[in-house]
Structures are given as C-alpha cells and as structure tokens.
Symmetry: C2
Subunit: 127 residues, 2 copies
Amino acid sequence: MDDTTRTRRAAHDYVDRLEHRDWSGLAGLLTDDVVYEMPQTRERIRGRDRFLRFNIDYPGDWHLRMRRVVADDRTAALWLDVRVAAEQQDACVWLEVSEGGLISRIVDYWPEPYEPPPGREHLVERW
Amino acid sequence: MDDTTRTRRAAHDYVDRLEHRDWSGLAGLLTDDVVYEMPQTRERIRGRDRFLRFNIDYPGDWHLRMRRVVADDRTAALWLDVRVAAEQQDACVWLEVSEGGLISRIVDYWPEPYEPPPGREHLVERW
C-alpha cells in the first residue's frame, strides 16, 4: 500500500470510527499528540484523550457520511455530509498524517447557510 | 506530467489567475460548461462566460493565497486564505477536472467565524 492509499484509508477509517462511535478504533488512528482545530471559533484541542472526550461528549445524534475525499501522501481533504436529526450541514476537514500513518492534525470547517448578497441574480440560479 | 500533477497544477493556476485578474488566463483553465456552486447560499452559475463575469464584477479588493492543496487525478481540494482589506477569511474549494485537464466544476465554501457553544472550555484552548 503506497502512502497516498494509506492516507486515503485513514480518512475513510476516521469517518467510519466516528460514525460508529468506535472510540477505541478511533484512538488507534490518532497520534498521542494529535491536534484538533476549529478555525471558525479559534478553538484547539491538544492530545488524543481530550479529542476523544470532546467527541464522546458531543451532543446530538450526529451522523457523518463521506461525500468526497482527496488524498496525497501525507494530507487528506474530506467533504462530509453531517446530519443531526432533520438538520443537514456540510463540513470540510483537513487531515495530516504522520510518517507512521497516524492522524496527527485535524482541522474542521463548518460552513453555515447564509443569504446571498444582492446584485448577482442575473448570473445565478438557486436550488 | 501525470494526471495528479496536472490537476494540482490546474488548482495552483486557478488561484494565480484569479489573484492576478488574468481573465483570459482563467478562461483558458475552464471548460465551456463549467459549473460553479456555493452550497451555503444554494447558488449555481453555469458556463464559463457567466463565471468570468461573476468574478470580474465581484466587489472589493480581494486577494487569494493558497494555504494548501490536495489533488488526485481528477479532483483537488484547496484551502485558501482570502483577504479583503483588513478582513481575513479562509475558504475551502473543491475542483473537478475534465479528462482534458480543464476545470469543469468548482464548489466554494466560505466558513464564517462564530462563538463556540458553552460546555467544552475544559477541553479547548482559544487563539
């Protein structure tokens, strides 16, 4: 398995372990000193134990589905479909993988819906 | 040049041509029927001419810098640092590339800052 295949696999496994609340499986994908960041809130969580706790405690019956993953040897970008009850949101996640194939850094973006500014209606269609 | 290298190059060129307002150069990177989507506003622009017009007309002295790109043979994910005067925002962009190496689909996410919900202060640091 080449490094790109390994990184893509880590990305799929990451989403799978979260979706299945397989916390020991998730722990096995992460470096001890994994860093998790949410730039929109300027929040950072350091270390596997705290990151697991964050996920275990996260409220709501959330579900994740991979829409797309792009990987190279040490980085992956994930486009997720996230659902909590009837609410749907997309997320963009950036992963860095260590030399040993473990996830060492996770950066999450949670883009919210908003109304478009006026002035471009002649160019766009809405869905 | 293999397909992954070509797709990564297209991603870098896309940002470069936008940043330099090189509209003919940008046009040369796109398929005639390129589709541009902004899922947060549920807006879609069809076709190269309209997409160019959208960018030419876009207000503000905006500047783009590539923070990261991940590419495979036909897809790229771009993490951008976007600045308009003193305002800074990150963007996540997904590109699809045609068999001929032209960009055929662009999906933009513009995540906005927000305040974190209470209850996780014991796990996180802020920056």
